[in-house]
């Protein structure tokens, strides 16, 4: 029996049979060593990358996308926008956050736009990378921005980072992923070793 292409209930049943048949350790090794989780993968909403969201209109979404990629640019790992973090922020704010938090994000994005227009006479999206970086750094440094705006930006930033590391690629590939550790132990940490991304709830 192949472990790929199984629905959630089928997967549970499959696990149960395996556990009964061969004991827990070998069953989990088999399943998690396979492509099972790839078969269940989250679908990145490419259709949403440039369109309007549930909360954000199209221009705001565009600005957010550039904010996301300024905070988490493409390096040897994908950028925030590569993983649809702007789509995620729109979705998550709409579904799970208060109106106050939604407004905080709308306000800071609009402030960033205003700041870009006032200082560069261009939209944030049209600034070069260095200008974008410096603009966002000036929010955290409260250089031309208030404490309230800094707080709003920090909230937006934490939501973007949450979206990044709870995506399938973020958790499985960019961090270390170990869904069934099989025990707890203290291990050495070598330079460059990544965090665990395997927590299954937040």
């Amino acid at each position: 029996m192949k472990a790929t292409n199984l629905s959630q209930p089928q997967r549970r049943k499959f696990m149960q049979h395996l556990v009964r048949a061969m004991g827990v350790t070998s069953a989990t090794a088999l399943v998690y060593g396979s492509n099972l989780n790839v078969a269940m993968a989250y679908q990145v909403r490419t259709d949403k990358l440039d369109g309007a969201g549930q909360l954000f209109d199209k221009p705001t979404m565009q600005t957010l996308k550039h904010i996301v990629d300024t905070i988490l640019p493409r390096t040897d790992t994908p950028s925030g926008a590569d993983l649809d973090c702007h789509g995620f922020v729109d979705h998550q704010l709409f579904r799970c956050h208060s109106e106050k938090e939604q407004q905080a994000c709308l306000q800071i994005i609009s402030q960033i736009e205003k700041h870009a227009m006032a200082n560069f006479k261009q939209s944030f999206c049209q600034l070069d990378e260095k200008q974008q970086l410096e603009l966002l750094q000036s929010i955290e440094a409260m250089n031309g921005f208030t404490q309230l705006q800094r707080n709003q930006f920090k909230f937006l930033k934490s939501l973007i980072v949450f979206g990044y590391f709870t995506s399938e690629q973020g958790a499985r590939e960019i961090l270390r992923y170990d869904p069934v550790p099989g025990g707890f132990s203290v291990i050495p940490l070598k330079k460059g070793d990544k965090c665990w991304g395997s927590l299954a709830y937040y």
């Binding site: 004991g23 550790p181 965090c195």
Partner: protein, 579 residues
């Protein structure tokens, strides 16, 4: 499980009715079934089958609609109260009660968080699994302080029963030989991290009498043949326990007591059966059965037996008793004393101290340890009490390396920041206080005079407050926690209390106890030392209702021991034809 085990209508009389299927209901059913009694377990909620109904188990975070967070609208409509429980998220919400269908009232100026888990297995599926024995001093506290009534039992009365339930349930922990936290029958403890060991050394040296140990928890770190025979295997340290565990690695009704009870062929289960009241035969002065309202179609039915065990949770059981009125007991069955519903206690989990730990940068951990460290109560006797309040508290102590969640709050933008986010950060530690709550007559649950729920059962009104003693204790616990962290070399130490926050109101520790207290005197207590009601010999209550004082330790292990002991006593009384 065998389908024949589930019944609905049943005219034949059972030997025993067990109302509730959580930790105590499971134990009562197992103990009776293994002694050959024909037992009916009655559960108000749906059936949850081990493994099959753990619908979110193993589901990674990106597969949830909202990355495991619960939709706002759903919370607003169904989980306004339940959302405040630490274990509530999109992977566990199916095991929490629906607040829309389960309303309750609170007296003006007070607040209460009533967390519900109405399904087969009850809160045994959702519990935090920390398992500690109460100590000799705990059973003497009321007597020594003159607060509340004296427990009718002492530690020695239940020590063997602790051993009995520990062996079966499987408790991991370390032998410490501490007078304030008796040792038990342990499976190997989980490992401590380097920073935990260092804190232990520093704090125990600076504060003799205070001990930092590995938490004791109902997880199979090394299953015995007894556990394997229950169908359980070793803990995989996923720490997603509250979704249900197909490995059966933590103790729950489903993983442990239910299969043992079912194996005897003496068990029947009536699910979706909301117990309205206990049926009382005034002539014989016996409980003869229960009235049930169907959870789904609201039809009524009755079940009969020679003995009734109420194991429906402290609040659930007391609600049933208050609602079981007769000419002889106009204020609730077995309530000649009038104390039923009074002296409601929870634990007070409302002080915290946090700090950073320097060093240990080359150390990390593998696995998500489903437990943390523990500092047992070191104020168990009046001569050890601190100034300004009675009794004491324990600390749950956890250490961790910070990750992107904490780092995302720091300043930083761009590629270096992004790289840093993926690496483990500084070690941190937090001390969370777990305080005793004194028994107070006015901390009471009662039935609402007019309002009823959808099953026609009167709503509960809570009138419960943290009082001066509880608040003073938490103030001190926050400060002492910070003091110990500083002594342990921590930096960036912060501390504070949360007892004034609405979402931290009484009930939120989910350790409700005390509303049908035990005692020697039938005039001021409901139960005797065997959890048997003073008034009606064949009516027993073995959940937290019987507590005389809350003590400090997590109560579930004591619930198990008291239940097993009560069944043993009851079985002997049946044999002697005294019931």
């Amino acid at each position: 499980m065998n389908k024949d085990i589930y019944i609905k209508q049943q005219n034949k009389k059972f030997d025993v009715l067990v109302v509730g299927s959580g930790i105590t209901g499971g134990w009562a059913a197992k103990e009776f079934c293994e002694r050959g009694f024909n037992t009916l377990m009655i559960e108000r909620g749906r059936v949850v089958e081990h493994r099959k109904d753990y619908i979110t188990e193993g589901k990674p975070v990106w597969e949830y609609d909202n990355r495991s967070k619960v939709d706002n609208l759903l919370i607003e409509q169904q989980y306004k109260i339940q959302k405040d429980c630490y274990a509530f998220h999109d992977g566990t919400k199916q095991f929490f009660g629906n607040d829309r269908d389960l309303p309750y009232e609170t007296t003006e100026g007070t607040d209460f968080r009533w967390i519900r888990a109405n399904q087969l297995g009850g809160k045994s599926l959702l519990w935090h699994r920390q398992s500690y024995r109460m100590c000799e001093d705990d059973f003497l506290a009321n007597k020594r302080d003159g607060v509340g009534n004296d427990w009718p039992i002492r530690y020695q009365d239940i020590a063997d029963w602790y051993s009995y339930v520990e062996t079966f349930a499987g408790i991991s922990g370390s032998k410490e030989n501490l007078p304030n936290l008796p040792d038990g029958e342990f499976l190997p403890p989980f490992a401590m991290t380097g920073p935990e060991k260092a804190l232990k050394v520093a704090i125990e040296k600076a504060f003799p009498g205070r001990n930092l140990i590995m938490g004791r928890t109902a997880h199979l770190t090394k299953p015995s043949t007894l556990h394997i025979s229950q169908g359980r295997v070793q803990c995989q340290t996923r720490n997603e326990c509250q979704k249900g565990c197909s490995f059966g690695a933590y103790f729950s009704t489903q993983s442990s007591t239910l299969p043992a009870a079912a194996k005897t062929n003496n068990l029947s289960i009536a699910a979706n059966s909301v117990v309205h009241s206990v049926i009382y035969d005034e002539k014989r002065n016996r409980a003869i059965g229960v009235r049930v309202i169907d959870n789904d179609d609201l039809s009524t039915r009755e079940y009969f037996a020679d003995v009734v065990f109420l194991c429906a949770s402290t609040i659930g059981t007391t609600q049933i008793m208050l609602n079981s009125t007769s000419k002889k007991f106009p204020n609730g069955i077995a309530n000649s004393s009038g104390v039923l519903g009074h002296y409601l206690m929870d634990h007070n989990y409302n002080a915290r101290a946090t700090g950073d730990i320097e060093g240990f940068e080359d150390e990390y951990y593998k696995g998500r340890r489903p437990s943390s460290c523990y500092m047992p109560n070191f104020q168990t006797r009046p001569e050890l009490y601190r100034k300004g309040y009675l009794r004491g508290f324990a600390y749950g102590i956890s250490t961790f390396r910070s990750d992107w969640r904490g780092k995302s709050q720091q300043d930083g933008i761009g590629s270096d920041f992004k790289q840093q986010l993926s690496l483990p950060g500084k070690w941190g530690v937090n001390f969370s206080a777990q305080g005793e709550m004194l028994p107070h007559f006015d901390n009471q649950m009662s039935l609402h005079p007019t309002k009823t729920d959808k099953w026609g059962i009167p709503l509960i009104n809570f009138n419960v407050e943290y009082r001066e003693n509880e608040k003073a204790m938490m103030d001190d616990a926050a400060e002492m926690g910070a003091e110990m962290l500083r002594a342990g070399g921590c930096t960036n130490v912060k501390s504070g209390t949360s007892y004034d926050l609405p979402h931290r109101a009484p009930g939120i520790a989910i350790h409700e106890v005390g509303t049908a207290r035990m005692g020697r005197d039938p005039k001021n207590s409901v139960l005797n030392q065997y959890c048997q009601s003073h008034d009606i010999p064949n009516l027993f209550v073995t959940d937290g209702s019987g507590y005389c004082s809350s003590g400090v330790v997590n109560p579930s292990l004591t619930f198990m021991a008291l239940t097993a002991r009560a069944v043993d006593y009851c079985a002997k009384e049946i044999k002697a034809q005294r019931l």
